[in-house]
Amino acid sequence: MNSLARFVVRRLALLVLTLFAVSVLIFSITQLLPGDVATMILGMQATPQDLATLRAQLGLDQPAIVQFGRWLAGILQGDLGTSTRFQRPVIDIIGPPLRNSLVLGAAGILFAVPLGLALGLFCALRRNSAADYAISSITIFAAAMPEFVTGGLMIIVFSTWLGWLPPFAGAGGTTRTLVQSASELIMPVASLSLVILAYILRMMRASTVEVLDSAFVKAALLKGLDRRRVILFHVLPVALGPTLSVIALSIGWMAGGLVIVESLFGYPGIGRMLVFVIRNRDVPLLQAITLIIAAVYAIANLAADIGQRLLDPRVGTA
């Protein structure tokens, strides 16, 4: 346990370092964004004096390092800054879309992860059967499709042609019934999770196949153990480890997917907001959104690392 605790502490420290490095990265990239914030706020007709006053107000006349320090200090106190576009605190604006995106993302994960793991295991155990070939070939298609292509095709089929599902999602605000919102979410969730479903499935299949061929599985069978016990206690824990890191990577992939899917379905989440924010050069809001995404991603990776360590005591001892 002691070594496990040390492992977790080390990874937590690494998480903090990563987030710091990422915040530096985000800050420097957003500083490079073309366009002057003060001009954006006041418009083209603003006098140079007004612009200068506003810049001083916003601290834009300070050196970049000072601005970064202030920004970071603000974040640590829970202050994400003020949106230049909406002239309101970022923290107030970002709540509802963040919640919406989390619903969409969580639904995608809940759909893709269990299904991917189960199908991957199934294919590995029935290696080279017709079912395995069929499923594995489909994953090659699914793994490569951009979300807006799968989503667009689904809209044509299920909304335009069949008329079963609404072509937009989340536009109705709070007036919708549960059934309505559920049917709205089907296509966004499906297009969001198809790629990661394919990857989780393939990874699970590959690592299970590798474990099934290993000497220790042969040894376990030759101890006369039940097939079920061998799969549950000798194959699964080892095969699941590498798949966990693919699941964590999937969450990063989903962040990109959210931007696409939300734009396609008009879903009011942070993905769509991100596009809007970039168009309007709302730097504080942009920084906040990217930092939140990076944090979620980093935490997912941390969770996968710890999960791997719990499954396999060899991890991190090298």
Partner: protein
């Protein structure tokens, strides 16, 4: 009825190039309390046979035919449920690589317990005490937390004890041991073999013991089957096989290894030309015909079994004619080392890693090599022998010490060395599979090497490469081949040809034989000796195989935990006293002679990094001849003998007294693993 009856067993694999017959025509019986040793080189199909006996189809098996009857039950056509009830409970197997055959994510105690629960339905509490009993039965200490550890947290020896404990846990009637000690150090191997001997005496379990090592087979087996290319070629009691081997293959195998005390000045070793060929269809001729030194006309037809004596049969037309072991030929070399010193390395030191977790791999080691001499460097894994060699070569930059080469000091770093030094100091690596660039033809590899030392025009390069190939007994057509088309022995020959292209003064050989089959090893030994006779080069020859080093070397240096604990002329090692560690190493050598079962010295515990940082002798925690508190408190001095010196608190007369009656002939030290 015998416990195990195997009749006409045949196993085929399907491969890209068609069917491969891995095992054919295997027939034998095994009674309780017997140990059948199956000996064969790589590719002989012995591991396939081990699994076929269990009724287990290895991956790719396309045919498993014949009869395997275990205690009246036919295993090849019984339902899987019957096999599952038999495996683990009545027949158990111990695999070669314990780290790979233990599940990495499960505590080892649980891996024993689940077997018990499966077959006996033992409850959790029952199985806990049963696990403790199992651990005790393989000599793992009680009260330790070993059962709660994971496989990677154990040493190699402990892991193999665990797999043996699993196999033993339900007191099976038959144990199959598939090279169980091959990946272990010699001293650990000796201890495991002792353990198997004890188990057999206690439980009367029948065993099938599979090994490539004739010495190990001679030690453990009551009956021996010699396997070649998937078939048994000779079968008999252990004494028959080792005293009056009848098949030319068996005789050649025995003659490939130096006999006790034999050196290069006494006799050259035999080797078997060619290599085992994969059989695609039933051969009409004798399977050994293409490599047989004693082939005659009748060999064009496969021979049947003929009895040499009761229970000793052989599959050879000429068996009765040539039952004698081939007479020893003349000395393998007549080259004598001169007084000229080629290499004088002193106080070499190398530490890996950073402060907190640094490993001191080589500590103040000095070594001298005379022209035309072979210095053998022995020690077990972790002794630093390879690191020392790499420091001399410049592949690792030594942290301290001085290296004089051909009379001048040379820099420790490779980058700072002159081209002339690089040219004349060459190296031969351990693994033939990676010693040649897989994407380059042999010709390109050799040409690159040649051109890096001086510009040569292409016709001269061709000439020199052809000559180099000829020197290592390979034809010029090898130039155009890729490494994957070559056997392990051929690759190692190319590596040697590469080393000799630039007229070397010093060749550093890093375990050049350890990945090769016995019959190929001896050929490479002779090749190295021949090349040395022609070139007067000097060798540093690293090996963990004491018999080979004793045969090849003029001087021997013994390393333990990064330090030299003994060094001297090779022949002086025959006479006591020797350092207690050297004594244990010699005693752990398995000689291919069933009568050599003398009492042996066994090492306690295992190599531990912590021992390097104590005040006393680095060997004191495992030493069976501890003198007293000074061993732990004071660094031992060199004890000088006429031709040798060793580092120990025992003076030469004292130690000689302890070791009287021959090295290693002392009671076995009580075993306790830490």
């Amino acid at each position: 009825m015998a416990l195990l009856e195997v009749a006409d067993l045949a196993v085929d694999y399907s491969s890209a190039r068609g069917t491969v017959q891995a095992v054919r025509d295997v027939t034998f019986e095994l009674e309780r309390d017997e140990v059948l040793g199956i000996v064969g080189e790589s590719g002989s199909g012995k591991s396939t046979l081990a699994h076929a006996i269990l009724g287990y189809r290895l991956k790719g098996t396309s045919r498993l035919q014949g009869r395997v009857t275990f205690d009246g039950v036919s295993l090849l056509d019984c339902p899987p449920a019957v096999l599952r009830r038999t495996w683990g409970r009545r027949m158990a197997i111990v695999h070669q690589n314990p780290l790979a055959s233990l599940t990495p994510t499960m505590r080892v105690g649980e891996q024993i317990a689940e077997t018990l629960r499966q077959h006996r339905g033992a409850t959790h509490v029952d199985s806990r005490s049963a696990v403790a009993a199992c651990l005790r039965s393989v000599g793992l200490p009680e009260g330790s937390d070993i059962a709660r550890r994971y496989p990677h947290q154990l040493s190699g020896g402990q892991r193999q004890r665990i797999t043996i404990a699993i196999a033993l846990s339900l007191e099976p009637d038959l144990m199959i041991l598939d090279e169980p000690t091959t990946n272990l150090d010699a001293t650990t191997e000796a201890v495991i073999l002792d353990l198997l001997g004890e188990i057999k005496a206690r439980t009367h379990t029948a065993m099938v013991y599979i090994s490539h090592n004739l010495g190990v087979i001679a030690r453990v087996a009551t009956r021996v089957a010699v396997m070649y290319a998937g078939e048994f070629v000779e079968y008999g009691r252990v004494d028959d096989i080792f005293r009056s081997p009848a098949h030319p293959y068996t005789r050649a195998l025995l003659a490939c290894r130096p006999r006790a005390g034999q050196t290069k000045r006494d006799a050259s070793l035999q080797w078997i030309g060619g290599e085992i060929r994969v059989r695609q269809e039933r051969a009409v001729e004798c399977i050994f015909r293409d490599r047989c030194p004693a082939k005659t006309d009748p060999c064009a037809v496969a021979p049947g079994w003929s009895d040499m004596a009761s229970g000793h049969s052989v599959r050879c037309w000429n068996a009765s004619v040539s039952a004698q072991i081939a007479p020893a030929s003349g000395p393998a070399t007549d080259l004598q080392p001169t007084d000229d010193i080629v290499l004088d390395a002193s106080q070499i030191r190398k530490t890996f890693g950073r402060r907190s977790n640094s490993v001191r791999a080589v500590n103040d080691v000095s070594m001298r090599v005379r022209r035309g001499a072979i210095v053998g460097l022995v020690g077990e894994s972790g002794s630093g022998k390879s690191t020392l060699l790499r420091c001399i070569a410049g592949l690792e930059v030594a942290d301290g010490g001085k290296t004089a080469y051909l009379g001048a000091d040379i820099p420790a770093s490779l980058a700072a060395r002159d081209r002339e030094i690089l040219k004349t100091m060459q190296m031969v690596f351990q693994d033939p599979e990676s010693t040649l660039n897989p994407s380059l033809t042999i010709g390109t590899t050799l040409r690159r090497h040649l051109k890096s030392f001086r510009p040569v025009d292409s016709s001269e390069a061709d000439r020199r490469i052809e000559r180099a190939l000829e020197q290592v007994r390979l034809g010029p057509q090898y130039q155009h081949r890729l490494p994957r088309e070559l056997s392990g022995g051929e690759k190692q020959r190319i590596a040697i040809a590469r080393a000799f292209l630039s007229a070397p003064e010093l060749v550093l050989c890093d375990e050049p034989l350890s990945s090769l089959d016995v019959s190929v090893q001896s050929a490479i030994c002779q090749l190295l000796l021949d090349l040395q006779r022609d070139s007067h080069a000097s060798y540093v020859f690293v090996s963990h195989d004491l018999s080979i080093v004793r045969y090849m070397a003029d001087r021997i240096t013994v390393m333990y935990l990064g330090e030299v604990i003994e060094e001297g002329s090779a022949q002086s090692f025959d006479q006591p006293p020797v350092h207690p560690y050297t004594e244990a190493l010699f005693s752990a050598t398995q000689l291919p002679d069933p009568a050599a079962k003398s009492q042996r010295v066994r090492l306690v515990g295992q190599i531990s990094e912590a021992d390097k940082y104590g005040l006393g002798c680095i060997f004191n925690s495992r030493c069976h001849r501890r003198k007293g508190p000074e061993c732990a408190d004071a660094f031992p001095p060199w004890q000088e003998l006429p031709e040798r010196r060793y580092r120990c608190h025992w003076s030469a007369p004292e130690l000689r007294g302890l070791q009287e009656g021959g090295i290693g002939a002392t009671p076995v030290a009580p075993y306790a693993d830490r």
